[in-house]
């Protein structure tokens, strides 16, 4: 609602002439809005010195209150209009119920005039920005008195330019015509790639001369894979030579084991074991044979005994014995 009461946008500030900017702090040019100055007629507070000053004029209605719309309109620019009254919020069709809805577009003459005027303005802006017409502003040279505010570091300079009076300078400011056809000064480059890392060093050039690689050298450079005796989380089978190599690598200094003699020992133990087992089998065989022999002898003895007793029975009368047996049967 109140955005139109806000200060002038900065775009407009561009158009204010330079001469006014220097006079900004003039105490006579303050905005006069106190209620005591109101009277029964419209009063314009305006200083007498310049017409195009930066002063804000205040306009009052006949009853003494501030006329906001005209004041704001005047403050921003002469062409700017402001709707600030209550009347402006009521639609025209409510205010004037018999309003005829007839709002024709502007006539062709008005449009043509407006278009021509605009085209001229635009052409001016374009020619300025593209640097087409050079006669304007080319020879404008202005001089500015500059006094350095820094205390340190200017002592030597002030000695040199004694006549100019301490740290004061007179600067000449003039336009520098830039060649519009020059290539751009700055390159906008995003995400620049870093240089790649240097190639790995080549320790021995084998292809270009030099002694060929010998077997000893190869062996010297051979680095066995690191294999632990204590960790094998994945449970791989590790060939013995690799394990030995790893052990060699790790315990090269304090290996107290004589592999050869240890081998002999184990071989001897194995042989002894084998021999003992052989002897045991032979002995077992013998014992078994003996046992079979003994059993055969026992059987022979029993058979002899049985033969002897049978023979003794036959020596007695046989019928008696047969009768007896028959009797026993019946």
């Amino acid at each position: 609602m109140f955005s139109s009461l806000l200060p002038i946008p900065k775009v407009i500030g561009k158009q204010i002439p330079k001469s006014n900017r220097t006079q900004k702090n003039d105490p006579t040019k303050l905005m006069l809005t106190d209620s005591s100055s109101s009277s029964s007629t419209t009063i314009v507070h305006q200083p007498s010195d310049s017409k195009s000053s930066n002063v804000i004029k205040t306009l009052h209605l006949t009853n003494g209150s501030l006329d906001y719309s005209k004041t704001i309109a005047l403050a921003s620019s002469s062409t700017r209009s402001v709707q600030s009254s209550y009347e402006d919020t009521i639609p025209l069709k409510v205010r004037f119920p018999h309003l005829k809805h007839f709002f024709p577009k502007p006539t062709k003459e008005e449009i043509d005039e407006c278009v021509a005027d605009t085209a001229e303005t635009i052409q001016k802006i374009l020619s300025e920005s593209l640097g087409v017409d050079k006669n304007q502003k080319k020879d404008e040279v202005s001089y500015v008195n500059y006094e350095s505010k820094s205390i340190v570091g200017d002592v030597g300079d002030s000695d040199e330019v004694e006549g100019s009076g301490g740290r004061g300078r007179v600067l000449q400011i003039r336009n520098f015509q830039e060649d519009p056809m020059l290539p751009p000064k700055f390159k906008l480059r995003k995400n620049r790639h870093k240089d790649p890392s240097p190639p790995p060093p080549i320790l021995k050039k084998n292809s270009s001369g030099g002694a060929p690689l010998t077997k000893e050298d190869k062996e010297k450079w051979n680095i066995p894979s690191a294999i632990s005796n204590w960790k094998n989380n994945q449970g791989f089978t590790i060939s013995l030579d690799k394990r030995m190599a790893a052990n060699d690598q790790s315990q090269e200094g304090d290996l107290g084991l004589n592999v050869e003699k240890f081998g002999n020992l184990s071989q001897a133990l194995e042989d002894a074991d084998k021999k003992a087992r052989e002897e045991i089998t032979i002995r077992n065989e013998l014992m078994r044979e003996l046992a079979i022999k003994e059993q055969k002898e026992k059987e022979e003895k029993l058979r002899e005994l049985a033969e002897a007793s049978r023979r003794e029975r036959y020596k007695r009368p046989s019928n008696e014995s047969s009768n007896q047996s028959a009797k026993r049967r019946f």
Partner: protein, 411 residues
Amino acid sequence: MISYKDIFDLDDTGIIPPVDEKSDTIYRQSQISVIRAEAGEGSDAGKSNNFNFDEGMSEPGVPEYNDAKDKTQITDMVVRKKEEGTGATINPVSRGNSSAEWKLRRVIADAHQGWVRCIDIDPITNKWFVTGGSDATIKVWDLATSQIKATITGHIMGVRSLKVSSRFPYLFSGSEDKTVRCWDLERTNSAAGSQIRDYHGHVGGIYAMDLHPDLDLLVTAGRDSAIRVWDIRSRAQVMVLAGHRSDVTSIQCASSDPQIVSSSMDATIRLWDLRKAATQLTLTHHSKSIRSMLTHPHEATMCSADTGGNFKQWVLPRGDLLNEFNTESDDSKIVNTLSINPVTNSLFAGYDDGKMEFYDYVTGDLLQRTYSKPVPGSADKTTIYASKFDRSGSRFITCEGDKSIKVWAEE
């Protein structure tokens, strides 16, 4: 198996006539009449218009309607002539008759792969239209048959604004990727692509653009709340119009003062003085953000609608409030788009929930309220993002959030 035809009651066989050269010529002739009536006196051959009048007039046996001053009279005559010629391609009863209702005639489902965000109809031949979608493509469609004619790619984010020039064969597009591009429509299908220019400088997405009717100026604005005026030929930025406090949502450019009117999400409308590069007037009557603002094609008035469902009409040179009315519905009150029918002088408002309302532009009376049905398979509500009446006022196209383009016609 349900097809779209079953759901939407699509019956456009009677509307789209077979290709008839005679009716085509008459139709073109009608366009010329309307254009002439707009331009003023009509039969002034020495005018500096770029429209190709000779094409239509050189047809043998086609009478000219350049003596009529009144526009409605012209259109009536054209319609009558058309009926005699081919048999009612446009319903003459609907002209100025408020009881005629707009009905859905055709759905281009999956027209884009995202929301369809903007539309513009060719202002000269009225034979094709362009739409831009969130899928970063621009598509050219035939207005009569709804067949796709070309797909223009190049943007890398959603296309938010489109404008077809009436003085050059150029199409201008603004996108969320902060670029404004100019496409040569005569090279749409070339392998090298049709982009011929781009306008660099915006620091936010471009939501609105318009072309100056007489000068080679392009006016764009959007997310960065600054309006930039470009010289079309040299691609130079002529001026920046600063003053809005939030996203600029629509821009209208005219030949007479105020030459630029802009509406913004900060609930203000600003009228700009192009010659001074300054705000001429700020209208702060709206209390909610304005998503759509439109100047009338024939009158010196404009209409704006905010997200609270308030419509306001203004008289243009001085920005006086002419009329205001509200939507009287309890649904969504967020007006996304406005369109003015240049023939029947009715105002369309498309809402965020798919509600469509047609108002009488003069009185502000509600003529029709309807809802746009979403295409099956999409969400239960569709959003109307953009809309446009064609130049004859007989077709109406909406661009919606269900990725479809819908063509409406009067009963």
